[in-house]
C-alpha cells in the first residue's frame, strides 16, 4: 500500500475541513465575536506546530507506523501501553463523527429514516473501501473528494457575495482582548491537531522525504478554508446572529438566493459533506485496524475491520445524547491533544534523537 504526496495533501484537507467548518465556527464566534477569524488563524498556528511535530517524528522512522516504532524505542511492554490512548482517541473520534453526521442527516434530510440505518449504511461503505484497498483507495478517494469539497465551498462563497456586509467585521480587535481571541482558538486548534494521525500515515508515502511539505500544504488548505468560512459567516450574519446557529456555514449556504432562481443549494453541500465524513471515517477505520494488527502481531490487518466496524457502529448507536458529544470534544481538547498530539510525539522525538546520537557515537 502506497500513498502519493498529493494524496496525503488531500487526506489531511478532506478529513479536517469537515469537522472544523461544521462544528467549530460558532463556538469560536461565541467567544471571539467579530474577531473569530483571527482565532482561526491562531488555531492554524497551533495546528502547524502540532503537525510539524508529528511529521518530524514519523520521518525519523521511514516505513514504520506509530505502533512499530514506539515498540522499537520504548520496548515491547511500554511501547504497546503508550499507544493505547491513540486507539481510544481514534475510536471515540469515529464514533463522535458518525453519530453527529447521522443526527444531522436525520434532522435535515431523512427524517423518516431511523438514525441507526443511516449509520449502518455509512459503516458498511467505509468497511468496504477499507477492506478493498486500505489506505490506497482512501487516498485515491480523497484525491477526488478533497478538491470537490474545496471548489464547492469556493462557489458557496462567491454566490454569497451579494449578502456580504463588510462593516460586520468592524471594529477590528477592540471589543475583546488577546485573551479572548486566544481562548477561542484553543478548540479549533485542537481540531487542527488531529494531524497526529500522520504518525501512522507517513509510513505509507512512496516518497517519505516529501512528507513535511505535503502535510503542510494539506494543513494550509484546511486553514484557508476554515478561515474563509468563518469570515464569510461573520460577513453575512454578523457575530450576534451566527453565534446563535449550530451550523452557521450551512446557514449561509441556505441564504443564497440569486435572482430568486438559484436557491436551496444546500443540498449540494450536504452531499459534499457526506464525502468528507466518509473519507475521515474510513481513514480512521483503516488506521485503527492496521495499528491493532501491529499491536497484536497479527499478519492480516483486514481481520481487524471485523472488530472495528461493529464497535464504531454499536457505540455510535449507544451514544445517548448531544451532551456526550460535547463532552468528547472537551476531552479531545484537554486530554487527547496534550497526550497524543504533544506528549508522546515529543517523547518519541527525544528518544529517537538520543538513539541516533548513540548509534553515531
Amino acid at each position: 500500500m502506497k500513498l502519493t504526496g498529493i494524496q496525503v495533501v488531500w487526506i489531511i484537507a478532506t478529513a479536517e475541513l469537515v469537522m472544523e467548518v461544521w462544528l467549530r465556527i460558532s463556538p469560536a464566534i461565541e467567544i471571539a465575536e467579530q474577531d473569530a477569524w483571527m482565532s482561526m488563524l491562531l488555531a492554524g498556528l497551533i495546528g502547524i506546530v502540532l503537525t510539524f511535530l508529528a511529521v518530524r517524528v514519523s520521518m525519523l522512522h521511514p516505513g514504520q507506523t506509530l505502533v512499530k516504532y514506539s515498540q522499537k524505542l520504548l520496548g515491547k511492554g511500554f511501547g504497546r501501553a503508550i499507544v493505547l490512548p491513540y486507539f481510544a482517541a481514534w475510536y471515540m473520534l469515529s464514533i463522535d463523527v458518525l453519530r453527529s453526521f447521522a443526527d444531522f442527516i436525520h434532522l435535515i434530510l431523512l427524517d423518516q429514516t431511523p438514525v441507526w440505518l443511516i449509520e449502518l449504511l455509512m459503516v458498511a461503505l467505509m468497511a468496504y473501501i477499507t477492506f478493498a484497498g486500505g489506505i490506497t483507495s482512501i487516498g485515491r478517494f480523497c484525491e477526488i473528494a478533497g478538491p470537490v469539497t474545496v471548489i464547492t465551498m469556493f462557489f458557496t462563497f462567491i454566490l454569497n457575495a451579494g449578502n456580504v456586509d463588510w462593516s460586520q467585521l468592524t471594529p477590528v480587535f477592540n471589543d475583546i482582548g488577546w485573551k479572548q481571541v486566544a481562548k477561542a482558538s484553543v478548540a479549533p486548534g485542537s481540531f487542527f491537531g488531529e494531524t497526529f494521525m500522520l504518525l501512522s500515515v507517513i509510513a505509507f508515502m512512496n516518497k517519505p522525504e516529501k512528507a513535511m511539505s505535503k502535510s503542510m500544504i494539506g494543513l494550509f488548505i484546511t486553514i484557508v478554508g476554515v478561515f474563509a468560512a468563518t469570515s464569510m459567516v461573520l460577513l453575512v450574519f454578523g457575530s450576534h446572529l451566527s453565534a446563535g446557529f449550530k451550523f452557521p456555514y450551512f446557514m449561509i449556504v441556505r441564504s443564497i438566493s440569486i435572482l430568486n432562481f438559484i436557491q436551496n443549494v444546500d443540498i449540494f453541500v450536504i452531499y459534499i459533506w457526506i464525502f468528507g465524513v466518509f473519507a475521515k471515517l474510513s481513514l480512521y477505520l483503516f488506521l485503527t485496524s492496521y495499528e491493532m494488527s501491529n499491536w497484536f502481531n497479527v499478519k492480516d490487518w483486514r481481520k481487524m475491520i471485523l472488530f472495528g466496524a461493529p464497535l464504531i457502529f454499536i457505540s455510535a448507536i449507544m451514544v445517548p445524547n448531544q451532551t456526550w458529544i460535547v463532552m468528547f470534544q472537551k476531552l479531545w481538547q484537554d486530554a487527547i491533544i496534550p497526550f497524543c498530539g504533544i506528549g508522546v510525539p515529543l517523547l518519541l522525538w527525544i528518544l529517537s534523537a538520543a538513539r541516533k546520537k548513540s548509534v553515531q557515537a
Binding site: 434530510l109 450574519f237 454578523g238 446572529l241 438566493s257 430568486n260
Partner: protein, 387 residues
C-alpha cells in the same frame, strides 16, 4: 454464482437511488408560500398560510377559457404556539405542509402589539427557508387579510410584496436581516409595513419599529415617506423621488434621485455626543412646474437649494419623531459609534438606550440635479397668457 451475487447487490443499491425513500413527492406536499402570525383575543397564535393549488397555476394557453381553480388558498388555524398552530392547520389539509419554499412572513397588527419575540424560536431552531423570506408587518389588519388579496400581475400575492419593496427603491429586507437586527446590541429593527386601502388591496405604508429589548413589541410606525428617509440614512435606498415647492420660481419641481449616498459621523465632545448625518443625492429633473430654467446655472442652484432644504426639514422632523417620541435607535447610530469610537464605546455600551434620546443629531441634505431633463425652461410658460 459470485457474479450473480454481485449483480444482485448492485441492483439492490439502485433502490435507494431512485429516491423513493422518504416519499416526499410533489403531489404529497402542500407548498406554503407565505405565513402570517396573528394574535387572537383569546391569547392564542393564529397561523394563516397561503397554500399553492398547483392545478390553478398552469399556463394560460391550455386553459382556453375554461374555468380554472384559484391558484392559492388561504388556510388558518389557532394554537398555543406556532408549531401547535401548524399541527392544527395540518388537520385541514390532506397533503403534508411544506415550508421550504416560504417567501413571506407577515405579522398582524395585534401580534406586533403583543410582541413576537416569544414566537421567534421556531424560525431559528427549524429554519427551512426563513433566511431568504421577506418579512412584513400589517397595519390595522390581520395577516390573513393580506393573503386573500388577488394581486394584479402575479397569480399569488407573496412574490408581489417583495417586488413592491423593490419598486419603492428599497433594498430587500429579509428575515435574516430582521433576525440579525433583533439580536444586535443597539439597533432596533424597522420592518416594512403594509396596510389595506379602501379597495381592499395592499399598499406600502412605511415601517414598523419593534422593540428588541422588550419581546419585539411594536413601538410605533413611520409612514411611507419617513420610512424611505430612514432607509436612506441606513443606506438601504437605491432611488428616491422628491417633489418640493420652489418659492422663487412659483411652482413645484420633481427630481428623481438615482445615486444616493449617506455618511454618519459620530463625534463625542465632552458629555455631549454629536451625530452628523450627511445625505447626498444625484438625479434628473423629471417635472418642472416653476418658471425657472434648470439649464441656467443660477436657476439650477435655486432649485437644488429649495429641494435640499425641503427634504432636510422633513428628514429632521422624522429623526426627531424617532428620537424623542419612539426613543428607538433604528438608524444604527449606536453601531456607527461602536465602529468609529471603539474605545469610548466600551463605557457607553450599556447606557446607549438612555443616551440615544439625548444625542445631538444634525442632518444635512445635499441634492444635485445632474440632468435637467429633455427640455430647458418649463413648458408651462407656452400655455400662459404672455404678460
Amino acid at each position: 454464482m459470485r457474479r450473480a451475487g454481485k449483480l444482485l447487490l448492485a441492483l439492490l443499491l439502485v433502490v435507494p437511488l431512485t429516491a423513493c425513500w422518504n416519499l416526499e413527492e410533489p403531489d404529497e406536499q402542500a407548498f406554503v408560500l407565505g405565513s402570517g402570525l396573528d394574535y387572537t383575543k383569546q391569547g392564542e397564535v393564529m397561523l394563516s398560510s397561503q397554500i399553492v393549488v398547483p392545478s390553478g397555476i398552469g399556463s394560460s394557453q391550455d386553459g382556453g377559457g375554461s374555468q380554472k381553480p384559484d391558484s392559492f388558498r388561504m388556510m388558518k388555524a389557532n394554537g398555543k404556539n406556532v408549531y401547535d398552530a401548524v399541527e392544527n392547520l395540518q388537520k385541514q389539509v390532506s397533503r403534508a405542509l411544506f415550508f421550504g419554499h416560504r417567501q413571506t412572513i407577515i405579522i398582524g397588527h395585534r401580534m406586533a402589539v403583543h410582541g413576537i419575540g416569544s414566537f421567534m424560536d421556531i424560525f431559528i431552531r427549524n429554519p427551512q427557508a426563513e433566511l431568504r423570506s421577506s418579512i412584513f408587518v400589517v397595519k390595522n389588519a390581520e395577516a390573513k387579510d393580506i393573503f386573500t388579496i388577488t394581486p394584479i400581475f402575479d397569480p399569488i400575492i407573496t412574490p408581489t410584496l417583495s417586488r413592491e419593496i423593490r419598486s419603492m427603491g428599497l433594498k430587500p429586507y429579509y428575515f435574516r436581516n430582521f433576525l440579525a437586527e433583533s439580536m444586535s446590541e443597539t439597533k432596533l429593527p424597522l420592518v416594512p409595513l403594509i396596510s389595506l386601502n379602501e379597495m381592499h388591496k395592499y399598499v406600502y405604508a412605511g415601517g414598523a419599529i419593534l422593540n428588541k429589548d422588550d419581546d419585539l413589541k411594536l413601538i410605533g410606525f413611520l409612514n411611507a415617506k419617513e420610512a424611505l428617509y430612514a432607509n436612506w440614512i441606513l443606506g438601504n435606498l437605491n432611488r428616491l423621488a422628491i417633489t418640493a415647492l420652489v418659492k422663487k420660481g412659483d411652482g413645484n419641481v420633481s427630481v428623481k434621485l438615482q445615486t444616493l449616498n449617506h455618511k454618519v459621523h459620530v463625534k463625542p465632545s465632552g458629555s455631549q455626543i454629536n451625530v452628523d448625518v450627511h445625505l447626498t443625492g444625484k438625479g434628473t429633473i423629471v417635472e418642472n412646474n416653476s418658471n425657472l430654467d434648470p439649464t441656467n446655472r443660477m436657476d439650477l442652484m435655486t432649485i437644488q437649494k429649495a429641494l435640499s432644504e425641503a427634504t432636510q426639514t422633513s428628514i429632521v422632523e422624522m429623526v426627531n419623531k424617532v428620537q424623542k417620541r419612539y426613543k428607538a435607535d433604528i438608524f444604527a447610530f449606536g453601531e456607527s459609534f461602536h465602529r468609529q469610537q471603539p474605545v469610548q464605546w466600551k463605557t457607553l455600551r450599556t447606557g446607549w438606550k438612555e443616551a440615544f434620546p439625548l444625542l445631538h443629531i444634525t442632518v444635512k441634505v445635499d441634492i444635485q440635479c445632474k440632468d435637467p431633463g429633455q427640455s430647458s425652461s418649463s413648458l408651462m410658460k407656452s400655455f400662459q397668457k404672455p404678460g
